[in-house]
Structures are given as structure tokens and as C-alpha cells.
Amino acid sequence: MSYFSSHFATLGHEFWGLLVGGIANGFIYAMVAIGYTMVYGVLRLINFAHSEVFMTGAFASFFLLKFLVGNSTPNAFESVVYLIAAVVIGGVVGALVALLLERVAYRPLRRRNAPKLAYLISAIGASYFLYNFVGKEFGRINLSIDAPYTNNTVFTIFGATVQTYYIVIFFVGVTMLVALDRLVATSKLGRGIRAVAQDAETASLMGVNIDRTIALTFMLGGFLGGVAGFLYSIPVGAVYGMGFTPALKAFSAAVLGGIGNLRGAVLGGLILGVVESLSVAFVSGAYIDVVAFGVLVLVLLVRPTGILGERLGRSA
């Protein structure tokens, strides 16, 4: 009894701080989860190599910022420009890696109508190749990012400090997610994606170019994944194995929200981020990663279709 009461007391003290941190993480998870969910929507399988898209995005931004910022202290205008540049390069490289994955690890199998087990294994192989390749070429030590801004406290809310980092995540995250939602809901590409998600055969009969749509789906998911990788790496740095744990969590988020469902991925990401952050009060630091996994197992057992239910086609 006293165990819990003392822990709840801790939770009480730090609640707002943990909530802010959790929402920030939640946005990152949501952006990665979108990648899982979109690929699941069109191919009905989990893109195991998405963690490497996340990682390569972080590396791209790392090198760009190293080049742009170096040892200088950017002024406000430069900060904003550098930040946007880093976001864009992270996203673009993420999208390119995702495209490459689709081309090399998925498309040859799709051509043959291979068993799904083959896709899984191919993606796992691609993931292991990519992350060890990056480790080989760019070293296996953690590279700390030259953030283009100083991480000041911007304001306090209920005693919780909100730093520049959180503001950045919030802005980038909301922009990306809203833009993606609009894109899928209204554009021609979005209609194509939804059509393929509902019924690939009919979609192709109606003139949707399946190969192109699938490639673009990977790229959209990859863009968000790459940006998320950059945002994630700002405080902790970039390292070749960084993708594994956040990607597993993001996958849990996608399942939590209902895999194949875009808004579900966002909802799942935010919920998971907050739950995980708040559980710091109960779980010791080393085991914090277990929380997301517990959520995943629980969801799969109790409600495998997630909170909002499956199907990309229906979601938007």
C-alpha cells in the first residue's frame, strides 16, 4: 500500500513535467507509427526496417548541422533556417532510404507474389544490413548533435518547465501530421493510397499505378520517420543502433491506435508517450522500455484492432 502511495506522491509532484515530456515523445512515436501504419495499409505487413529509416534521418541531420552550425552560435534567424534545413534533410533522406527499401527488399518479392514470411525476413535482413552498414561507415559511437538553438526554458506551466526542444517538437510534429492528414484526405495521391489500401486489385483496374503508389507511401512514411529520427536525436545524439527501441515503441503505438489507421497512429503515439513518461514514477529507469512492450501485448490480447480500429481506407 505504502509503495503505491509514495509513488503516487512522486507522480503528483512531477505530473506536469512528465506530461510535457510524454507528449513530446508521443509526437515522435506518432510520426514513426504513421510509417508503419501506412505501409501496413497498402501491403498488409509490418515494415520491420522502418527503424533504420528513423536512424538514417537522424544521421543526415547530424551531418548537415555539423556542417552548418559547427562551433558557431547561430542567431535567431539562423536557428530557424538551420532547423528547417535539418528537418527537411532528415525527412528527405528518410524518404530515400524508405524508397530504396521498397525497391530492394520488397518489390522483387511483390512481383513474385511471395509468401508474407519472405517479406518479413527480407525486411529484417535489410534492417540489419542498414544499421550495421551505417555503423561501419560513420563509426559505432554516439555522435552528439549540434543543436541549432540553445535549449532555454520558454515558459512554465503548473510548475513544469517547457524548453525550446519541446516547442520545436510540437511545431514540427503538428505541422507534419496535419499536412499528412490533409494530403491523404484530399490529394490525388491520397486517394490512390486509400484505394490501394481498400482493394489493390480494383484500384489497379481503375487506373491507379500500384507500384508508384506503394513507393510513394513508403516515401511519405519515410519522410516522417526521418524527421522523427532527427527530433529524437537532438538531446541524445545519433548512433547506428538508435532505431530499434523507439521503432518498437512506435509500432506498439500504431497497434494501440489501430494499425492501418492514420489518426489512430497519432492517438496511439501520444497515449503511449504519456503513459510511458508517467510510468517513470513506478518503474525504474532501466526497465522503462518494458512499459511500451507491455502496452503492445495487452492491446494485442484484449483488442487487436486497436482503439480506432483497422483499415487505412476507412480512416481518412
Binding site: 513474385r112 509468401p115 560513420f138 527501441t245 503492445l296
Partner: protein, 463 residues
């Protein structure tokens, strides 16, 4: 322009060139965060020996090698075409040779031929330590080949026979190794009943323990679709790793333990102590491999094995015949877990230490590569694949070429998985049944079982 790029010849050459570039970079020197281009420039610009003949830049060497490979393959192709044409033309000598070949193939399927083949292989395996007397090699063969074979044979039951992708397989291996450390009293946790038991006692304990964990993990998760199962097992492997790496009071944390005693056998007048010499370990582990081989191959051809095939090929039909899918899947999972637990005992009792870095998820992937490379579901394929891949790994570990860094192993294995899935999804030496299954799914004449979700077929039938 467009037609130029759609020309299959151009596409093929382009693909070859890309693969060549990739291989040059993969085998090249390393870069770092401060010198991100060093790895790439060095891969092309550094010099290396071309069979000791001359010492050009790396790209020249690889170009020459490619030309040689391309030349050889086209030669083989030409010879093959010539052969087929001759056969069609009714050339007597060719027809006779073809007939002999077919007869040999037929004979290879005979039981007696097979048995004598196995006998030869076994005799070779028994004689091996006298052939290779270098102890460092012998140790490598035990630790990097035989133990991996044990693990691959176990995973083959799960992935090959039952068709379940288990990425947390390493967790059971860890459970086996740590149970050994615990039972022999080498962990911070006191051993059972406070007695430092003999390592042989650890065998049943570890098997039961691993099996129990397998069943407990399996019952809830094996109801899930195949791809969810893969992720859940991945998470399980990660949790076990976190646990052994962080529980200093229970498992020794990141330093693990190096206190495990030598294997010893003490029963009445019979005493035996396995010491530092690898040869006795070789024979012991070989005996285990043979036992695994025999047990799993009778399992494959038993009612249980056939039920796994039935579930793998069409779960709905299997269930309608009275096969309880979950029960059989859990059984496969438990057998796999028990094998891994057993292999854990073997490793721990031989290396005398257990530390967390051995038990990362990458290890599961390594074992998966062995199963996939040889041919999922085919015991013969798995053994052959395991020997080839792990033999090569052991060679690289023993005398690494200058361009090889042990940390790159998983880069190569990952690439191998992708290549296998693209070109030989059923493995190099698949069972005939598995080859049929893959081709039938590809042709759309059989359902893809990974898609079947218990409960899903309840709505997929027409209403």
C-alpha cells in the same frame, strides 16, 4: 531514352554494377563520424593485392574479379545450353550421361544410399579432431559451429516445421545459460537449496525452465498473426536482455559471471572432468547434435510433424479435421525453447562465463540466417547451411582477412537474408515440400498462412 533503360540487358548490367559498388564499399575500410567519407573513398582508392600478382587500387581488383565471375557464369550457361541442345538432338553419349545422372538422383533418394551417406558424414565428424589438431580451431568448431547447429535445429522446429517467426529465440538461450550459472552457484542469487550442483543437473532444470517460459509466452501470443508474433517475440528477447543486463543482484548485471565450473561427470566409480582441452567438448557436443538430429527428424515424420505441416499449409482445414492449432504451435514453441535452453547449458559449461552481450537480438538473427540459408523445414538443409555459414564465420574469426571486422558480421548476414529472399526464398537445400509450398503460394493456388489470424477466418468465408 526510356526504352534504353527498359532494355533487360541494360537493367541487368546496371544491377550488377550497383551490387559491385556495394560490395566494394561493404568490404572497404571503416569511416567515422568525423570523417564520414573516409570509408567510401578508401574503399575505392586504397590498394590491395590481386592474388599476390600485383597491387592495384581496390576498384581495379573488384572490376577484374567481376569480369572473371561474369565470364565464368556465361561459360557455364553456354555449356548448359550446349548440353540441352545436344540432348534434344538425341546425341547418344549425352543421353547416356543424362540417364546416369537421373539414375544417380533417383538412387540418392533411396534409404540405403542416404544411410551410407550419413555414416560417412558421421565417420568424418568423429575423425575431425585428428584432422584439425589446432586447439583454437577445435574450440571455434565447438563454440561457433556445433552449438549454433543445436540452436538452428531447435529454431527449425519453430520456424521451419510450424512456420512461426520467433525473433526472441535468443532469450531462451540466455535462460538456459543463466540457469546453468544459477544451478552451479555462480550467480549472486543463491543456487537451489544452497547446493553448488553439478552442471549436468542444470540440463533438465534449464530445459524445463526454458520450456516453461516458452509456453507462458506462447499461449497468449501464438493466437496472433505471424507478423505480430515476430514483433512480440522480438520485444520478449529485448526484455530478457534488459533484465540480465540490469539486475546486478540477481544475474550479475552487465559483467555477468565467470565462475561456472568445468563440466564433470561423477557417478560411482566413473569419473570424468572436461578441462581446458576442447576435444572432449567436441565429442560431447557432437553427440548432442546427433541426438537432436535423430529426435527432430523422427518428429518431422511423425503425426506431430504432419500436423504442423497441415497447420502451416491451411489452418482452417486443419482445425476442421480436429487439429488444435494453438496446442501444436505452443508445442513447437516449447520444443524450440527447450533446445535453445539446452544449447545455453552447453555454451555456459564450456566457455565458463555468461555475459549479457552474447544474448542480444542480433544473435536470434544469426540463427535465423542459418535456418533460412539452408532451407527452412529441411533438417538436412539446416545442417548443411549451418555448417557452411558458421564454418565461414569461424574461419573469419580464426584468421580474419585485413578487410574484415567482426562487427561487420551482421551487415553481411543481413544482406544475405535479403539476397536469399529475393533469389532463393526456400533456401539453398529446401525440402521438396517447402519448395512446393512456396511456389504454390506464389502461383496463388494455396493460401498464405501468415495471413490467417485465429478468428479472422470467421468472417472471411462467404456469408
Amino acid at each position: 531514352m526510356k526504352t534504353f533503360f527498359q532494355n533487360p540487358r541494360v537493367q541487368r548490367s546496371g544491377r550488377t554494377a550497383l551490387i559491385l559498388l556495394l560490395i566494394i564499399v561493404m568490404t572497404g575500410p571503416e569511416g567515422s563520424g568525423t570523417q564520414p567519407t573516409a570509408g567510401f573513398t578508401g574503399s575505392f582508392g586504397n590498394h590491395m593485392s590481386f592474388f599476390g600478382l600485383f597491387y592495384p587500387q581496390r576498384w581495379v581488383v573488384f572490376l577484374l574479379l567481376t569480369l572473371i565471375v561474369v565470364g565464368l557464369t556465361s561459360l557455364v550457361k553456354m555449356a548448359h545450353r550446349w548440353w540441352i541442345e545436344r540432348q534434344r538432338a538425341g546425341n547418344n553419349a549425352v543421353a547416356r550421361v543424362a540417364k546416369t545422372l537421373a539414375a544417380t538422383k533417383q538412387r540418392a533418394r533411396h534409404r540405403s544410399t542416404r544411410l551410407s551417406l550419413y555414416a560417412v558424414a558421421l565417420a568424418f565428424a568423429l575423425y575431425f579432431p585428428h584432422l584439425v589438431t589446432d586447439q583454437s580451431w577445435q574450440t571455434l568448431v565447438v563454440q561457433d559451429v556445433l552449438v549454433y547447429l543445436l540452436l538452428a535445429l531447435g529454431l527449425n522446429v519453430v520456424t521451419g516445421f510450424a512456420g512461426l517467426l520467433d525473433l526472441g529465440y535468443v532469450a531462451f538461450y540466455a535462460i538456459g545459460a543463466y540457469t546453468t550459472a544459477w544451478v552451479t552457484g555462480s550467480l549472486p542469487t543463491p543456487p537451489p537449496f544452497g547446493v553448488h550442483w553439478n552442471t549436468f543437473v542444470a540440463i533438465p532444470v534449464a530445459i524445463v525452465f526454458a520450456m516453461l517460459c516458452g509456453v507462458l509466452l506462447g499461449i497468449p501470443t501464438l493466437r496472433l498473426r505471424g507478423d505480430y508474433l515476430a514483433i512480440v517475440t522480438l520485444g520478449f528477447g529485448e526484455i530478457v536482455y534488459l533484465f540480465i543486463n540490469n539486475s546486478y543482484g540477481i544475474t550479475g548485471g552487465s559483467t555477468g559471471t565467470n565462475q561456472i565450473p568445468f563440466l564433470s561427470f561423477h557417478l560411482g566409480p566413473i569419473k570424468y572432468l572436461w578441462g581446458l582441452i576442447p576435444e572432449p567438448y567436441y565429442y560431447l557436443t557432437l553427440a548432442f547434435v546427433v541426438i537432436f538430429l535423430l529426435a527432430f527428424s523422427s518428429l518431422e515424420h511423425s503425426r506431430v510433424g504432419r500436423s504442423w505441416v497441415a497447420i502451416r499449409e491451411d489452418e482452417v482445414a486443419a482445425e476442421s479435421l480436429g487439429i488444435h492449432p494453438l496446442k501444436y504451435k505452443v508445442m513447437a514453441f516449447a520444443i524450440g525453447a527447450a533446445s535453445a535452453g539446452f544449447a545455453g547449458v552447453v555454451t555456459a559449461s564450456q566457455t565458463l562465463f555468461v555475459t549479457p552481450p552474447t544474448f542480444t537480438i542480433s544473435f536470434s538473427i544469426n540463427i535465423l540466417v542459418l535456418v533460412i540459408f539452408g532451407g527452412m523445414g529441411s533438417i538436412f538443409g539446416v545442417v548443411l547451411g549451418g555448417l557452411v555459414v558458421q564454418g565461414f564465420v569461424a574461419y573469419l574469426t580464426h584468421s580474419p582477412p585485413s578487410i574484415y571486422n567482426a562487427a561487420d558480421l551482421y551487415m553481411y548476414l543481413g544482406a544475405l537474408l535479403v539476397v536469399m529472399m529475393i533469389y532463393r526464398p526456400a533456401g539453398l537445400f529446401p525440402s521438396r515440400r517447402r519448395r512446393r509450398e512456396v511456389s504454390q503460394v506464389e502461383a496463388g493456388t494455396a493460401p498464405d498462412t501468415l495471413q490467417v489470424e485465429i478468428g479472422a477466418h470467421r468472417v472471411q468465408e462467404d456469408v
